[in-house]
């Protein structure tokens, strides 16, 4: 490791605030763009599964639930 | 290719080509305003307006930096190795500001051709070297491109 201690790595010769802020914001943004589509797909799958179940449960195909 | 698709292809090429030309012309017309600063040669040639806020950028000339003994006032020269412009400034300097490094000073050019700066920004080059490598290169007498100093 380049730094002697955790303290030195956090401080980075006075530039620690800038470097760690930049990395933190980047990590949060990356997490957001990865997780958003996964959640969107899951939510949609759940919703559609419910619709199908209701449609299968109802004998009448025009029952509410099937839109 | 289907004629309808061919027609649409031409439409796409038309959009791409003509928007490029239009924006290219705008950029060409504004080229002077897009420059962030004047190089010292332009200032020496009288192309920079006097008495208006402008920016001048170049290298801080070696051995030109004079610091005041009792205040933050400094005086130095910005050069592009053809001409140089004297700059006076009082205030906090960026960490990277040093002789032989790039800098951009914003301020007003006075009648004597001295830039009275209100802000100094440091400009760095595209070279990234670890300190040990730089020191080793300096002691070997060659620069990072392998040329003799």
């Amino acid at each position: 490791m380049y730094f002697d201690s955790l303290q030195a790595a956090l401080h980075m010769g006075g530039h620690g605030f800038f470097v760690w802020t930049a990395y933190a914001v980047t990590v949060v943004t990356i997490a957001a763009i990865l997780i958003t589509p996964v959640l969107r797909r899951r939510r949609f799958l759940r919703q559609l599964t419910g619709q199908l179940k209701r449609a299968q449960g109802a004998a009448d195909p025009s029952a509410p639930g099937e839109r | 290719m289907h004629p309808v698709r061919k027609q649409r292809l031409y439409l796409v090429l038309f959009i791409a080509l003509f928007s490029s030309i239009a924006i290219g012309l705008v950029v060409y017309a504004l080229r002077g305003n897009i420059n962030l600063f004047y190089p010292p040669a332009d200032v020496a040639a009288g192309m920079a307006p006097v008495g208006q806020p402008i920016r001048v950028g170049g290298m801080v000339l070696e051995d030109s930096l004079q610091r005041s003994a009792d205040s933050l006032a400094i005086r130095f020269k910005l050069t592009d190795y053809q001409e140089s412009v004297a700059v006076v400034y009082e205030g906090i300097l960026p960490d990277l500001f040093a002789e032989g490094q790039g800098a951009v000073a914003s301020g007003v050019l006075n009648d004597e051709g001295v830039l009275e700066a209100s802000e100094i920004l440091a400009k760095h080059d595209e070279n990234y070297m670890p300190p040990e490598v730089t020191h080793a290169l300096e002691s070997s007498g060659y620069d990072e491109k392998g040329k003799a100093r």
Binding site: I33, P37 | N35, H124, Y128
Partner: protein
């Protein structure tokens, strides 16, 4: 070439193949990102002039490079959807826009945070930074324009035209530091000529650039899959997929 082209037009095939690709690409991407970040933050030497603040390069440059490349992906997909009316190209264009916007935001934000300790300012209206801000607005414009239309076919066409018009901005961003006097320095990695960055700093940077390209691909595929399901919800293959899901 044409059979592949037709396969890309098939939603169930695209959904299946993207799932298979993501299963190995996503772990590799995350591993490369973590490795590159730890390497750049803790295991590279400091820089002679800038000290430790230069470590921001390992996220700033990859984000900017991929934000530019991603715009070409978006505009290319838009052109295909305009010419061939290929629905999957429209899906790809819509999927690329938010990812590109996020990467452009990362490049601008890390640039500002890097600018303060080195240049002495968070922001300056020089050619590189301003044209990068325009790129952010172009990406956000495509996202907003798509949402503004109720008719999604018209939305796709309008977005495709907007991305094509904005394409001229990419070479401007790229060449801005050569064409005009700017505060931003020139490129350190060059396709022709010497690279002016020491190898101990270059290798982690190249790793991070590759990782960000992979990240863009992952996000593009994830967005496309979510969009595909939604658009194709009434079709047989989606029903089948969900029935299998229910049984499992």
């Amino acid at each position: 070439m044409w059979p592949i082209f037709h396969k890309f037009g098939s939603p169930p095939w695209l959904y299946a193949i993207s799932g298979a690709i993501l299963r190995w690409l996503l772990p590799i991407t995350l591993l490369a990102l973590v490795t590159g970040m730890v390497w750049g933050l803790l295991f590279t030497p400091s820089e002679n002039v800038q000290g430790n603040s230069y470590r921001i390069i390992y996220i700033h440059v990859p984000a900017a490079v991929v934000a530019l490349a991603g715009y070409y992906v978006m505009a290319f997909a838009g052109a295909i959807s305009l010419i061939w009316r290929m629905k999957m190209a429209d899906v790809a264009m819509k999927a690329a826009a938010p990812v590109g916007a996020a990467l452009t935001f990362v490049a601008l934000f890390t640039g500002a945070v890097w600018g303060k300790p080195t240049w002495g300012t968070w922001w300056v209206w020089d050619a590189r930074i301003t044209s990068m801000l325009i790129l952010l607005f172009l990406y956000l414009g495509v996202v907003a324009l798509y949402e503004a239309f109720d008719n999604k076919e018209a939305a796709g066409k309008a977005c495709a035209v907007l991305s094509l018009v904005g394409m001229v901005n990419i070479p401007i961003i790229y060449k801005s530091v050569d064409w005009w006097y700017s505060l931003h320095q020139g490129a350190s990695i060059k396709f022709t000529g010497e690279t002016s960055i020491h190898s101990s700093m270059l290798y982690p940077l190249l790793l991070m650039i590759a990782a960000f390209y992979a990240l863009f691909t992952c996000c593009l595929l994830l967005n496309m899959r979510a969009e595909l399901l939604q658009r194709e919800q009434r079709t047989q293959w989606v029903r089948k997929l969900i029935n299998e899901d229910v049984v499992n």
